[in-house]
């Protein structure tokens, strides 16, 4: 499903964000990427949905290879990958509903009624049906984060990437969100969660990739969460 093969990412002024990262994930697996601030967690996720490309090495996602994918194929990849961004990336001029509906509109395969049904379903999973008509700036930080999560899961992605999905959530709501993510994983979606909070994977007892200054220092542990 997702495979990193000697992936190195060097940004301008020689910042090494990822350093020779190798790992492999099966279909339907659940992986936590943990590490301190600036370790390279977000960069790793960006490689998966190909917002960034490796300086050297290769990333394989589904049938797409980072070295050979053509620019017009990238949208296809992204439609099958749901992403919860660390900084939310909600469209400021759309309501929560429209933000969540966006991936469905983009895929162009759904009717208005279907869209409505799916969006409301996703919003109810994150407990935000009542705020569907609010603009992002009318939502609290945690609410915005949950809108981002609803958008990531609305289109039944084959891979779900969640960057710090509970950073703005209290323990109660955060646990619910992790449960939502686990449910999606249980339904067969591969999931990668980047987080600085090591308690979550410890509690769940699932796979952990530990990253530090761009290097994968630990990979494995846990039992297959299912």
């Amino acid at each position: 499903m997702v495979r990193f093969f000697h992936v190195t990412k060097i940004f301008t002024d020689n910042r090494v964000a990822l350093n020779d990262v190798n790992f492999q994930m099966q279909d339907g697996e659940l992986l936590f990427v943990v590490g301190p601030s600036g370790a390279g967690k977000s960069t790793l996720l960006k490689m998966v949905y190909m917002e960034e490309r490796p300086t050297s090495g290769q990333v394989i996602v589904g049938g797409f290879l980072s070295t050979t994918i053509s620019p017009d194929k990238i949208p296809l990849l992204r439609r099958r990958v749901g992403v919860v961004f660390q900084d939310f990336r909600l469209m400021q001029d759309r309501t929560a509903f429209e933000n969540v509906a966006l991936p469905l509109r983009i895929s162009g395969r759904f009717l208005g009624t279907e869209i409505k049904e799916r969006v409301m379903n996703a919003l109810s999973k994150v407990g935000l049906c009542h705020r569907r008509n609010a603009l992002p700036r009318e939502l609290s930080g945690g609410e915005q984060q949950r809108v981002g999560i609803a958008r990531a899961i609305v289109n039944n992605p084959i891979v779900l990437l969640a960057d710090e999905p509970t950073g703005n959530l209290d323990f109660g709501v955060g646990r619910e969100i992790i449960q939502v993510i686990c449910n999606i994983n249980a339904a067969g979606t591969a999931v990668i969660v980047a987080t600085h909070d090591e308690r979550i994977p410890m509690e769940l007892g699932c796979r952990v990739a530990r990253i530090r200054e761009g290097r994968l220092t630990e990979f494995g542990g846990g039992f297959a969460a299912r």
Partner: protein
């Protein structure tokens, strides 16, 4: 099928939403494009009128050959045919002494002066019209001297230096007009294109989000292009209306100013639309190309 219909519907809704949500941006865009199209319209209006004025003045350019007193009818026929033979001459009209008097009376509105005279002092004449494109001052002079050399023709009048000066003036105006038209046309295209570009740039955040969620360039573009077209279309219509109002206001004072002929209106609207669409395309390309794929 149904899904693609819902897509069309979505695009239309998006377009209107784009305009509605960003009222301030839209207003700014509209004002700029209306203003620049208005300029373009004014220039076209001036061009149309200068052209027309030139045409009319050119048409009026002609030669009057005054005939000596007492020339016989036969000789008149002969003179007429001789003048008609000149290659530059389009037509020759005979104006008898009586016609001349009648015209003089009409133009003066009073007969006293002539009645005091007792006799008709006005000569008969030939009004000679020249062919189109053969009305430059030099031609006028040449033809006049030929006609003046005919026996039975007393005097020839053709405006002389005035015709030459008018020629110069019209030529200068035409060159000016083309120059202004080209510069303004290009400038307006730049302004419209850039204004649309600024609106797109101001919303680049949204565009980047759509991209990262998996939207194809085409999907992102459609509402913007539609919005750009709608904007420029509205602007063109508003500019035309303003232009018409201005025209009405001025034609109160200068009644023989014409409005834009249909050809120019088409040119005007098309030009605005092309500029708008090109502006949208360029800016979208720029924004879409940024940051990774």
């Amino acid at each position: 099928m149904k899904a693609s219909l819902s897509k069309v519907f979505y695009f239309l809704k998006e377009t209107l939403r784009g305009i509605g949500r960003h009222k301030s941006l839209s207003a700014a865009t509209l004002i700029s494009t209306v203003a620049s199209l208005l300029i373009f319209g004014v220039i076209l209006l001036v061009t149309a009128n200068v052209q027309r004025a030139a045409d009319q003045l050119e048409k009026r350019k002609g030669i009057v050959a005054f005939i000596e007193e007492g020339v016989s009818g036969e000789r008149l026929e002969y003179l007429k045919s001789r003048i008609e033979e000149i290659p530059e001459v389009e037509s020759v009209t005979f104006v008898s002494k009586e016609d001349a008097l009648e015209e003089f009376r009409r133009s003066l509105g009073t007969e006293e002066f002539l009645e005091a005279l007792g006799t008709n002092p006005l000569p008969a004449s030939f009004d000679v019209a020249l062919k189109e494109g053969r009305r430059a001052a030099e031609v006028l002079e040449k033809v006049s001297s030929v006609i003046g050399g005919l026996k039975g023709v007393e005097e020839v009048s053709y405006g002389g230096t005035w015709a030459a000066r008018l020629d110069r003036l019209l030529r200068t105006l035409a060159v000016f007009n083309v120059m202004v038209g080209v510069i303004v046309g290009l400038a307006v295209a730049f302004i419209v294109a850039n204004t649309v570009r600024l609106t797109v740039l101001a919303r680049r955040e949204s565009i980047e989000i759509m991209k990262v969620v998996g939207a194809r360039a085409g999907f992102i573009k459609v509402p913007f292009v539609l919005e750009g077209m709608l904007h420029t279309l509205i602007s063109a219509v508003v500019a035309l209306i303003l232009l018409y109002v201005a025209h009405e206001a001025v034609s109160f004072r200068l009644p023989d100013i014409i409005f834009l002929p249909p050809l120019f209106v088409t040119l005007f609207v098309t030009w605005g639309l092309i500029s708008g669409v090109v502006g949208t395309q360029l800016s979208l390309k720029e924004v879409l190309r940024k940051r990774g794929s």
